[in-house]
Structure formats: C-alpha cells, structure tokens
C-alpha cells in the first residue's frame, strides 16, 4: 500500500469507527468526515501514467554514462564525456552533465533509471522497433492495438477519454485501443473553438450532441465532437483555477509537459498521456546536438516534477521515458552513432529504492556491436500495468512477464 492509499484507508476506517460507536453520526462529525475525504489528494484518486517517447533512438551510453569502464572511452574516442564531468551515481555510471536539472529529483529518490532495457533479436529499424515497443510485440493482433490503448480498454469507464496525446503528431500505434478513442491536443489556444465564445453557439453544441444520427460515420464523429466539447469545457474551468508558481522553460517539450500538468490540475479523468520528443537519430556530429536534446528533456521533466509537487499530485503520476533503441557502442566515422539495441528507461514519480535499477549491460559481451538487454521491456510494462494501472498484463503482453518491483510499495 502506498502512502496515498494508506491515508485513504485510515480516513475511511476512522469514519466507520465513529459510526459504530455512536450508532448515529452527529451532523458536525459527518460533515467533517465528508470534508476530510474531500481533501485534495483524496478526491483526486486515480493514478496517471505519462509516457514520453524519445524518437530516433536515444544514445543511452551518453545518457547514463559508464564512466568507470575503459571500454566506454576506447569506443567513444571523440564522443566520450570526461570522467570529471559525469554526474556520478555510484562508481560505475552517472548522468550526462546536461541532465543536472534532474539531480535534485534523483537525490530525493523520485527519479530512477532502468538500465539495459530491450528485447531479444533486436530490430534496428526505427519503424519496426517502435512498432514492437508500441504493441508490446503484438503486431499481428487484429484490430491493431497498442499496449496503452489495450490498457485503457481495461480501465474503469470514466465517461471521458482515458488517453491523450499532447502534440500535433498523428496518433501513435501505442494508443490504439479496441473500445477507447484516443485524442490529441496541442497548443492551449486550440483547445477552444472560436465560436464557443458566443452564447447561442452553446445551444448548437448541445443540440448537436443530442440529435441522433443514422450513419455510423456521423455518430462516430459526433462522439469525437462531444469529447472535444468536454475537454474544452474542462480546460476553461481549469483556467479559472488557482495559478501555480512553477516557471516553465519555453521549449516545445516543456510546453507539452505544462499542458499535461494543467490537465492534471484541472482534474481531467484522463489516465494516460503520451508525448513525443524527436531528433535523437544522431548519425553524424552527435555533439552538441545530443547534449542540447538532453538539456531540453531534463529541464522540461524537472519543471514538470516541481509543478506536480506544488499541486500535491506528485504521488499519483508516473512518468516513463523510453526510446525505440539505444545506439552502437563504437562511434562511427562521422562523429555520430548508429542504431543499437538495449537502452535506458527513465522513471519519475513514486519513491524508488535507488537511483539505478536493473543491471548495466556489459561493454564487452555484445550483440553485433550493440549492448545486450538485461531487462525485457515487457517486464517493465508488466510492472506499470499491474502495479501502477492495476490492469492484468498477460493479454496485453501476449504472455506472463514477471513484474519487477521498481518502486517502493509497488502493490
């Protein structure tokens, strides 16, 4: 039981005790109990999962750097980060210096890195490896569905879209479900229809939602419209909620995270958010481009975590950052790195026992020049599905994967 549900348990059992003692609950007390159970973190119950995709194949070796291994320096003759610059987490590996904004959260045990995440027979095509990560190796399923879409299909019905992508990319395969309709949102100003400022337009929207349509296609579009109206209304209500003090970077990625934070602050019943951050396919002149990407990533995540803390929502949000593959150990002739295999997954939110989870892959026992995975990503998915979203993972993952206990009080 995590601290949130423990508190909830105490609150409910306390009220029950009062009831059984007096038989009739005095009105004052019952009001207090009602108030109690409505304190911020109790009313906002459900856990949220935010998935960030680093597209292009993030160089995990220059993210979580094995500075204690000579093999790293021998293979990264121009791209290696010097020992003294690495932000050390123990005596084998540490973070790229551009990830400094994450250090506070790592030290508070609210951010951890899972090492050597991958899968057997690594596929080095962006497109195909992403499909594997998105579907949990279930590409043959008909209709095509992703691991997050399939999870959302199994979550309790909330009457509201459980899946949202923030950005203007096409909906990723991972969000496709059989029942749920994933939605995409981008800039905040596009959350509102220009005509919704007109009073009579709201009557039209009510009518549109209530007049039944014969055609399947029209009814489906009508449902999309309805979701749009709901989100739009929620966001307008949220704009009136108390302003928060977090200072957000102006980068695209940070603005996407800000939107997720705003939606969480607005009590949106959405359970799963998906963000994409591209540019990691660093075949040539990897530096300084990669460092810049890491900096944008770290600053955005740090602001997101600060904001959630301020909202008092940090405990119920899990952030998972992945990439379709890592990159080759040996750098290429263009000061870049080619497609590799196992990589690193970053997690933030709950309390972690230690900043490094799993086992760093060997730099000498390689698979065609690439790191061998030490944890199947489907085990990681199993943890997230079972221990975070509380849905059964076997069907989604096409088999039973043992979920490792990644964070404290996983169950």
């Amino acid at each position: 039981m995590n601290s949130y549900s423990r508190r909830k348990f105490i609150a409910t059992s306390g009220a029950a005790t009062a009831l059984s003692m007096s038989g009739v609950l005095p009105q004052v007390l019952s009001q207090t109990a009602a108030k109690l159970s409505e304190t911020k973190d109790m009313r906002r119950g459900e856990r949220v999962l935010v998935v960030l995709q680093l597209s292009g194949g993030n160089d995990s070796l220059n993210t979580l750097i094995p500075y204690g291994d000579d093999g790293y320096y021998q293979n990264r003759f121009t791209l290696a980060v010097g020992r003294e610059q690495v932000l050390k987490l123990g005596d084998y590996c540490g973070l790229h210096p551009e990830l400094r904004p994450l250090l506070a959260s790592v030290e508070n045990r609210r951010t951890a890195f899972v090492q050597g995440v991958g899968y057997p027979n690594p596929n080095r095509s962006h497109f195909e490896s992403l499909d594997l990560w998105h579907t949990a190796h279930q590409m043959q399923a008909k209709p095509l569905r992703g691991w997050l879409g399939a999870a959302a299909d199994r979550l309790p019905e909330s009457g509201f879209t459980p899946l949202l992508q923030i950005g203007n990319e096409p909906i990723p395969v991972s969000l496709l479900g059989e029942r749920v309709i994933p939605a995409t949102l981008d800039a905040p100003e596009s959350f509102q229809r220009s005509v919704d400022k007109i009073a009579t337009a709201s009557e039209l929207r009510r009518l549109d939602a209530s007049v039944p349509r014969d055609s399947k296609l029209l009814s489906r579009l009508q449902r999309t419209n309805e979701t749009a109206d709901q989100i739009s209304a929620r966001l307008r209500a949220a704009a009136l909620s108390a302003p928060r003090s977090t200072v957000w970077p102006t980068t695209n990625l940070a603005q996407k995270f800000k939107q997720v934070a705003d939606l969480i602050a607005a009590d949106l019943p959405t359970r799963i958010y998906h963000l994409t951050f591209g540019g990691f396919d660093t075949h040539s002149n990897q530096e300084p481009a990669h460092g810049t990407l890491l900096s944008e990533w770290a600053n955005a995540v740090a602001a997101f975590l600060r904001d959630l803390d301020e909202q008092g929502q940090a405990e119920r949000v899990l952030l998972l950052t992945f990439s379709e593959f890592g990159r080759r150990l040996r750098e290429n002739a263009s000061r870049g790195t080619d497609h590799g295999a196992a990589g690193v997954v970053q997690l933030s939110g709950p309390e972690f026992p230690m900043p490094l989870l799993g086992k760093y892959p060997s730099l000498t026992d390689l698979d065609e020049g690439d790191l061998k995975y030490t944890m199947d990503y489907r085990e990681l998915y199993a943890s997230v599905l079972e221990n975070w979203l509380s849905v059964d993972s076997a069907e989604i993952l096409g088999g039973r994967f043992t979920p490792p206990n990644l964070w404290i009080n996983s169950k």
């Binding site: 879209t161 203007n168 096409p170 909906i171 309709i181 994933p182 939605a183 995409t184 949102l185 981008d186 596009s190 959350f191 509102q192 229809r193 220009s194 005509v195 007109i198 009579t200 337009a201 009557e203 039209l204 929207r205 009518l207 549109d208 007049v211 349509r213 055609s215 296609l217 029209l218 009814s219 489906r220 579009l221 009508q222 999309t224 419209n225 979701t227 749009a228 989100i231 739009s232």
Partner: protein, 462 residues
C-alpha cells in the same frame, strides 16, 4: 421480418450491392432527376465543392456532358491565359523559392484552377507515390514530380509507374540512387511492391531481393535520372511470375501486369472517390478491376465509369467518406469565392495533417477516420471561422438568399453546397438563430455561421 432480411440489414452497405448493378450506368428518370444535389455531390467528390452558379449551370447541362468533361474541361482564352501565368509562377517558385511556397502555390491553383478534378487526381497520385520535401531538399525536383504526376494522371497506370521509377525526387526520398550491383538497395523495390503496385500479401521478401537487382545502376546526375550500365546487374532474376534478365522498365511492366495490381489501384481509387470502407478483395472492387484492365489501366476511363455509376449517386455513397483537410478547405474557399493568403493556409493544413508536398511517410496519408480527432475537430471549426473572417470575399452573393438577408435561406443553401448529408432540422434552426442574433457585419456573421457549421459531423464528410 424474416431472418434473411434482418441479416441483410446488419450487413455492411457494400455487401447489399450486386457489382454489375452497382457499376451500371445511372440514367435520370422522373423519380430520380439530374438535379442540383447530384451536381453538388459530383463536384465535391470528383473535384472540389463548387460555387452556387457553377452548380446551377451544370444542373442545366446534360449529365453525360458534365461528367465527361470533368477531367478535360474546354479551355477558353481567359482560362488558358490564367493557366499559363499560373504555371509560370510555379516555375519561378520551383527555381527560386522553397517547397513550402510551392505547396502554397499548388493550393492556390486548386482554389482557382478550372481543372479542379485534374488537380484533385494529381493530389491523389501524390499521396500514392508519396514523396516529401522534408527530405528532398531541391524544390525544383518536387516541381518536376508534380508536373509528371499531373501529365500522366489520367492515362495508363503503367506510364505513371515507369515515370516514377526514374523520378529524381522519388529516388532521393527512398535512398534509391546509386544502387549498385554488389549491394542492391531494397527500399525502392519494397515500396514498388507494397505501396505503389500490389499491396501487402501479394509478394515475398525473396521477390523484393530479386526485384532490387533489376533496379541497380540507376542514379541521379545533375538533377536527372541516369543509368550506369556498369552497376546494373544483368543476371537472371526471378520475382512474381517473371523469369529473365529484366531491366528497370521490364521489371515495372511485369509488376503492372500482375493480377493484383489493377485490383490494388482500383481499391485505392474507390477509397478516394466512393467510400472509405470497401475491403480490398470485395466483389465491388474485383468487378471494377476487370474494367480497369480492359482499358489498359487507363485511369480516366475508370473514373468516368465510377462517376457515371448508379452506386455513385445513391444515398449510401453520399457522406461515406471523411473529407481530407485539403479538399475540405479548398472546397470552402471555392464555394464562397474567398481569397486567403495561401502561406497561412499551408500552415493551417500542416496542423490539420495534410500539407501537400509533405506527406508524413512513403505510405502517404492514411485518411478516413484518422483525419479527425479532438484536436483537428476543433482546428477545423476555427479554420472555417478564420477563412471567412479574415479572407476577402468576392463581390456579389455567395448564395441567392444572401442578397435578401434571409439567414434561414443562407444556412440551407450553404448546407446544400458543402454538406453531403442533411443537417437535422432543429440544428438548421439553431444555426439560423445564431446568425440572426449575431450583432456583427455580414461577413463576420457569415464567419460565425461557417465556424459553427464546421463543428457539425455533416460538415466533415462528403
């Protein structure tokens, strides 16, 4: 009701049609006239939604003349001059501008060109042989590909594929230049089979490897296709039903002759012109594929058959497609005769997911329901509002009731032009009230009206 009837009712609409009946020629009758609604539907489907007087005019011509001239409308001296000037502008942008500007130019041509159906068909082929200026840095090569697609759009499919297999922009896009005998590039061979000609399930990985050898030696020199005979693999190849020493041209011939080719292309054309949801191996598709083969896969012949068919004019076919972003806003601008800065429109189309010359991948645009999600539903409404509010409206009335300030009439007339399916009466009344109660000038009133209509599902289908 008996069991057979109820199962008929539950089956998808396309299963209720006998193929030869569906594609037989539609003839007007007293009960089923060639009227305004049919003309408006034809324009929305074959080209782009058209303005009121153009629809009215065509309703008074014979339907065979109207359909027959869609792909080759007679040019007057005035339209010829516009066309030449317009082409010249494209040429200037192609050599001195960038691909974003060229995309804006193409949109402008779609809005103003008399040859709406030909531009629409060229856009379809562009999505089919998808090539993105994101990767092809030379605008001139995108321009030349556009010209090739347009020139060959109506003719035999074989000519199109032959041309595209030597098209510099395509070869750059698929990393297929300088494919060498020792290390054939399989990317282009794969896409020719999977996306351009046959579709998945009709070839093997071995076919791809063999075919790739037939494409070796091709490259680009000085922006033109070039064959390096020293790098061409002259050996025997074996793919699909073919055995022999095929070169590029012979290989394409063999693929286009494969039985699956006509069916695959017909299926894609039916999705574009008839309905989003007919399956690839459906009898409706197989029947039409035979027609296509009989005409040596001449696309204009096929399209004329589709546009003249009974199925095309039925209620089932009307509103069976989600409108793509380009046809959606080009139709709006054409219908209302609005001028709008096209670079601004290009940016809006990027956000809506269909900026010409920038398809998301070699698969082109998936289309159908993927066009509309919560984000794009809101964007579409806001764009309709913005186009009318910020654009310049031509003099005169966009629809007859406009001059009388009869807003109830305006709403209904606009719906006839722009919506394939009837908007329910209570909603039409609510729209009328909305226009009447708005305290703004007429153009802004119209902007609010269009922005509101664009929130409706009927406004998204065609």
């Amino acid at each position: 009701m008996n069991v057979a009837m109820s199962s008929m009712r539950d089956s998808p609409w396309y299963d209720r049609w006998d193929p030869s009946d569906a594609w037989s020629v539609w003839e007007p009758s007293a009960a089923d006239r060639w009227d305004f609604m049919k003309v408006a539907h034809l324009h929305r489907r074959a080209g782009f939604a058209a303005p009121w007087d153009a629809v009215e005019q065509d309703a008074n011509r014979s339907h065979t003349d109207v359909i027959g001239s869609l792909l080759s409308p007679a040019r007057t001296e005035a339209t010829q001059q516009t066309f030449e000037a317009d082409k010249n502008t494209g040429q200037i942008l192609a050599t001195g501008g960038n691909s974003r500007q060229l995309a804006a130019w193409w949109l402008l041509r779609m809005v103003h060109a008399p040859e709406a159906a030909l531009e629409r068909l060229t856009l379809f082929w562009h999505g089919h042989f998808a090539t993105s200026a994101d990767k092809v840095a030379e605008t001139n090569l995108m321009w030349r590909q556009y010209l090739s697609l347009r020139k060959l759009a109506c003719g035999p499919f074989r000519d199109l594929v032959q041309e595209i297999s030597r098209d510099p922009a395509m070869l750059i896009y698929l990393d297929a230049r300088d494919s060498r005998k020792a290390k054939p590039n399989e990317n282009f061979a794969r896409e020719v089979l999977e996306l351009f000609c046959l579709g998945t399930g009709n070839y093997t990985e071995q076919d791809i490897r063999e075919l790739a050898r037939a494409f070796t030696g091709g490259g680009i020199r000085h922006g033109k296709f070039f064959e390096n005979k020293y790098q061409f693999d002259e050996g025997e190849k074996s793919f699909l039903n073919y055995r022999g020493p095929a070169n590029r041209e012979q290989a394409i011939d063999a693929i286009v002759d494969h039985a699956a080719c006509a069916q695959f292309i017909v299926w894609k054309l039916v999705r574009q012109y008839v309905a989003d949801d007919v399956p690839r191996d459906h009898p409706l598709i197989r029947h039409l594929a035979q027609t296509y083969r009989d005409s040596h896969m001449t696309t204009s012949v096929l399209l004329n058959k589709i546009w003249s068919s009974r199925l095309f004019f039925t209620d089932e076919c009307r509103g069976a497609r989600v409108q793509g972003p380009v046809e959606w806003c080009v139709g709006l601008l054409r219908t209302l005769r609005i001028s709008f800065p096209m670079e601004g429109l290009a940016e809006e189309l990027r956000l809506l997911g269909q900026l010409p010359l920038y398809p998301p991948s070699v698969k082109g645009w998936d289309g159908g329901l993927q066009w509309i999600d919560v984000r794009t539903a809101i964007l579409r409404s806001n764009l309709a509002h913005r186009l009318v509010r910020e654009g310049r409206m031509a003099e005169g009335s966009p629809v007859p009731s406009w001059a009388r300030k009869d807003w109830g009439g305006v709403v209904r007339e606009l719906a006839q032009l722009l919506c394939a399916q009837a908007i329910p009466e209570p909603i039409l009344d609510s729209l009328t009230k909305l226009a009447e109660q708005t305290n703004e000038d007429d153009q802004r009133r119209l902007a609010i009206l269009l922005g509101s209509m664009a929130t409706l599902p009927e406004f998204q289908v065609c």
